[in-house]
Symmetry: C2
Subunit: 381 residues, 2 copies
DNA sequence: CATCGCTACTGTATCGTTACAGATTTTGTT
DNA sequence: AACAAAATCTGTAACGATACAGTAGCGATG
């Protein structure tokens, strides 16, 4: 077998080298140097360390360390031997050791608000991130904060304690203090959403402008002319994006806006429904709706129905949707799929890229809304 | 001010003690012992360590360490001084240092299948867990695995690398190899769901038996007699729980079961819909449905409607629901709320309890289904 | 043949923390 | 006064890894 052949060969090599040098440290203890770890067999059953490999190969700990890093000053033969042994005994570097010595944590921190999670957007995002991290030494640590408090809190914590090599944040604002801080302090990060500060940094974003524009197109195609937008909260960057797309759509496709700014997608479903029901009952009632969030759409539908109207008849509606609930339950609502899992993957790739020193401008991506055909009402045969 | 007063007092105390001892090591360098860290000022701007506090207080590193741990062999006065300085300079123990020395990671690992996350159950769970961990030194690391592969994989990884102090697992089986392994190896854990192996271990579970029983009660109250259950996959423990509750309900409330075992809540929505549509079109069509999952319910509704029937008229339906989508979009469906966020909190408390050595039997909890009134169709006035 | 440079390998010190085994002073006992 | 015990404080070594400054051997160079 290939493996045993190589080991025998390796064994001979050890002997040859040692006898040439004449140090004889494989046999005796005369050296009594403290760090000569290789002379002491490792305790059985314990987790293998560099010391273990050093003992098994007859090499020094340093050599083993450098061999595994593919350092240029280690012989090709030796590297192979070390790698082989390491693999055989299932060596995995001790994270605490590395972290203490080098400061490298091998941790990516996902910073979340506890509040934004109502709609369960986190789930597929976490899955997407871990999909990418699975092939790397990185672990994903979830660091939450209460958005009612200081959003800089978790960032400061990470900076102060060196808790992570990279950070993923969302709910990005046009002038985002977190981005400023992390940039200044050279902490690699990526944002879910863009900023407008003139800082070039990694991001992934959904093309909300395009979404709103295409939504307006869909609605006007159905003859709708008085359109309303359930918008993101005004402090977030994509508020502007979505509004811009919406307004550009109105202009290009010839429709008018119905004002509706009392509530946004951050409000409770009940608040949205109440506000929208009032609008639907008024003389200003729109005939087309663009919903900036899937859960918001639910409240809007309820409002429409409470007002005695019906989606697909009195009004049409397009919504962003991170899952396909709505397609199943309300196929009359048009949906544009936002692939959060993909976002997670892109974000993970981007932070890692940033950590590895790739230029930020190469770590930016925008995902396009995917218009979904309404689900067939009956089963495929 | 209180603070400066105390510091002055502390300062005087140092002098007094040192002069009595006559070692004079505060002034000179004659000691030249290597670990006498306190004689060298810490680099400005660097993260404070025990050394920093040792320098500031004039104490030894060991003393500072022990003082912060409230060890019995440190004077009350000293402890207070150390604590004060530590707080002032914002000392936080270096995790890597602690972990390397003691093996304590201060990490809780949430082990997830990538696949189960379709329905987004993870989100509120993560939030619940982090709510509890926020008040502790623990971080939450998400460790995913592909359920198509070895579910023991992540557990072995954690055992081999000592990656976490405690583990949270879900999708628990009656005879769960993960539970056996972690118990044997004394790795603290908690399961979301119960086992049937005679091992007493921490768990949190939703009372699925009760849920199904109460669901049957609701349906029979509406005169339904031919009931069907969309059940969990047969390998998971709560499959039996739910079936038991269902069958007990049938007996107690006088109804009969319609067989439907081709699909379960793990199957795709399309598969569930197709199978159920077939049933609904057959002569065996049930008039009452219990759905073991919220997303499954969506597929069932679609199937019912495809078959030309209507929930609330031809059939009634009760479903478990982790959110209130259905209440908004299909108020005619009866829902029992499963509070996943609460589950997250309970699980976190239980692992920590286990880590701290509390007896497992005190770390078990069962949450009761919460029947929800149908949502009012119109706004509150 | 001394010396240089190169290749391949190695020991020491260090990151921050804690277990352990002292060390020193104070207090108590007889 | 002598000694033991208690109360406080301390240095050393170690956890596992790596940066750095070497060293040994060997062929090439002048």
């Amino acid at each position: 077998m290939f493996v045993s052949k190589l080991r025998v060969k390796a064994g001979r090599l050890i002997v040859a080298q040692r006898s040439q040098k004449g140090t004889g440290w494989v046999t005796g203890m005369e050296g009594k140097t403290k760090n000569r770890a290789a002379t002491v067999p490792p305790p059985a059953g314990a987790r293998p360390t560099l010391k273990t490999i050093a003992f098994m190969t007859g090499l020094g700990i340093t050599t083993v360390s450098r061999a595994l890093k593919d350092a240029p000053d280690i012989g090709a033969e030796t590297k192979e031997r070390v790698r082989l042994v390491a693999k055989q005994i299932g060596y995995q570097p001790n994270r605490a050791g590395v972290r203490l010595r080098t400061g490298k944590t091998n941790v990516i921190s996902l910073v979340l608000t506890l509040e934004e999670e109502i709609m369960g957007i986190t789930s597929p995002m976490v899955v997407g991130i871990t999909e990418i991290l699975a092939g790397t030494p990185y672990h994903l640590v979830v660091t939450p904060y209460s958005s009612t408090k200081d959003p800089l809190g978790p960032i400061r914590y990470i900076l102060d304690t060196g808790a992570a090599d990279g950070v993923i944040i969302s709910r990005t604002e046009p002038h985002d203090a977190r981005v400023t801080l992390m940039t200044e302090r050279h902490l690699p990060f990526v944002t879910h959403g863009r900023t407008e500060m003139g800082i070039i940094h990694p991001f992934h974003d959904f093309d909300n402008e395009r979404f709103a524009y295409e939504a307006v197109r869909r609605l006007t195609e159905r003859g709708r002319r008085r359109l309303v937008l359930l918008e993101p909260p005004p402090n977030l960057t994509f508020h502007t994006h979505m509004r811009t797309g919406f307004e550009r759509g109105l202009k290009d496709f010839g429709a008018e806006a119905v004002s509706f700014h009392h509530v946004n997608i951050d409000h409770s479903l009940v608040a949205i429904r109440d506000a929208f029901e009032q609008l639907m009952r008024s003389v200003d009632a729109p005939d087309g709706i663009v919903s900036g969030s899937g859960s918001g759409a639910i409240a809007l539908i309820a409002a429409i129905e409470s007002a005695g109207k019906k989606v697909g008849e009195n009004v049409d509606m397009v919504t962003k949707a991170p899952s396909d609930f709505l397609r199943w339950l309300r196929p009359e609502v048009m949906t544009m799929y936002e692939d959060i899992r993909l976002a997670g993957r892109e974000l993970a790739k981007a932070v890692i890229g940033h950590i590895e020193g790739k230029p930020p401008e190469t770590l930016q991506s925008l995902s396009q809304p995917e218009f979904q055909r309404p689900m067939s009402k009956s089963r495929k045969v």
